[in-house]
Symmetry: C2
Subunit: 330 residues, 2 copies
């Protein structure tokens, strides 16, 4: 039997357990050209909150009763697809379920010898590629410039700062709480990390950025974004990647310091990693090389069992995760 | 005798007449390399509100007791500068006064045979160049794309829309009141103009932009910007040129729809025309050619007498001007 989690109702504000429903279903049977995959790990990501809402966005939302979307890594257990054999490890978009079938073009073989399987959902996966393209293509920091990233201990932010270091930049993180900040500095090698919960974000960030901010990579939004805007240099770049502080809000935060964009000629640009889909290979090669060199540290929060996926997402949106959030499915 | 207006006190909210003081002073005497200029017209521009405040910005603020900054066109009446002779008409930065001296490098000869002198403060001057570089370098509209501009009947906005038309775009203005909107459509040749005072900005703008918004040129900010953000297309560009609705505010507007920047991968960029100072000649040539071809219509609001400059600025910040605001000084 398959087990899967479907969207039971749309959240109003913070998602709650009753917005999800766990179901059993017969094991799916692969058609010609498809493979049957047993999912091993499910990735939990902030964008999932948006997909729970019936609003027009860059991607289709989840319908009520539909399986929740998400990436997994899994193992092929039966194959009617050329080039895929039982035992192959694959990256999938099968969502919140234990098993699924997919066409060959929707499954990407990953190499378990090169890195742990979970890394293909994190630092070597979509979050890592988000960091790669956002920082390099939009942020475009030069050597010696200061790069700030919010949610710095998270799946995207941790890669942004390590990439910035590899590019010769000063990397400054923003994270919630002293434990995360210590990890960002000592574990990930950022030059500084500021605890936004300590209540002095502007002063602390100013002290951490003596040359101002040349590139800001925003994952959080709200008061964090408003504060960083005050410290951005003339001609600085702002990568708008996430606004997780708003995702549960019924009323969005009102951004006060947009005038900084004008006065300092800031270039602010929104990004969705899918726009670089034809260049994922380039990012994977670059990130894997950094990993091989021991310069891409990873921290993961793993919970066990499909039934804990809802609480993992709820926790992620509260900032409770510490590193890449995953659900072990098998 | 010279007469001049100095900053008497800094405004709190809307500027008031008592923030300005009119003074008499001896006629200045040109030093070697300088010319004495009699100002004929003073340009009144929104940026002047910012200069009245003692805050760090892209340009130095006016000190208390200092002459208010501003561009003028004037006539050389005495010259100790090579290449400048009495009778020459020049563009200056002499500010709110009847006479002033300046070095040759600070005076730019203008050609009264090619266009009325006042145009060098408007469509062929800084506002026109702001439109030119902002639209072409940041907005980068392609033929058939929709360009929206706020404060569309103003000095910058009126040029933005006419440039957009010359580039084969659909030009849609936003202006205050039916009279301005009629002028924008019929006088300036925009495809549409929406009256933000009519109370249906979102619906009216949506109807005026059936293909969405590809480029938005923002002069106003606040609720206008928040509304246009909802209609911007994927990969659209937002030129952040002015936020006049905030300039008098003691508390800035809180922008709600920044999430549109992320979801639609909007590129928003602040601009200050000075950054293109080395390319003014290119803009002047392009704008003058458009003017010669009869495709650069101009409307001006002119008040008479230096003593009316404060009320002209106060009115401009309230949106009372209709076209380029000027003060005739002689």
């Amino acid at each position: 039997m398959n087990r899967r989690i479907v969207l039971a109702s749309r959240p109003d504000g913070e998602p709650r357990p009753e917005n999800f429903r766990i179901e059993e279903a017969p094991l799916p049977v692969p058609a010609e050209g498809e493979a049957l995959v047993r999912n091993l790990y499910l990735s939990i990501d902030p964008y999932m909150r948006g997909r729970m809402m019936a609003v027009k966005s860059y991607a289709r939302h989840v319908e009520l009763g539909e399986v929740m979307v998400g990436q997994t890594v899994g193992e092929v257990i039966a194959s009617r697809a050329n080039g895929l054999a039982p035992g192959d490890k694959v990256l999938t978009s099968l969502g919140w379920q234990l098993y699924g079938t997919a066409k060959q073009a929707e499954l990407f073989r990953v190499d378990p010898a090169r890195a742990p399987l979970t890394y293909y959902l994190g630092a070597l996966g979509m979050p890592g590629m988000t960091a790669w393209f956002g920082l390099r293509e939009i942020g475009q920091p030069g050597p010696g410039e200061t790069v700030v990233v919010s949610a710095a201990s998270g799946a995207v932010g941790s890669v942004v700062g390590q990439l910035a270091k590899s590019m010769g930049c000063r990397a400054v993180g923003i994270a919630g709480g002293p434990e995360k900040c210590a990890w960002v500095r000592e574990g990930l090698g950022f030059d500084a990390c500021v605890d936004y919960r300590a209540g002095n974000l502007y002063e602390d960030l100013r002290a951490a950025c003596p040359d101002g901010v040349h590139v800001h990579f925003e994952n959080v939004g709200g008061v964090v974004l408003d504060t960083v805007l005050r410290l951005m240099n003339p001609f600085s770049r702002l990568v708008l990647c996430g606004l997780v502080s708003d995702y549960n809000a019924t009323e969005p935060y009102g951004l006060k310091n947009i005038r900084a964009v004008l006065v300092n000629r800031i270039r602010m640009q929104g990004m969705i990693v899918f726009d670089w889909a034809d260049r994922y290979g380039e990012a994977l090669a670059g990130l894997a090389a950094l990993h091989d060199a021991g310069r891409l540290k990873v921290r993961e929060s793993i919970v066990d069992g499909l039934e804990r996926a809802p609480e993992a997402l709820i926790g992620l949106l509260r900032g409770r995760n510490f590193g890449k959030q995953l659900v072990r499915l098998a």
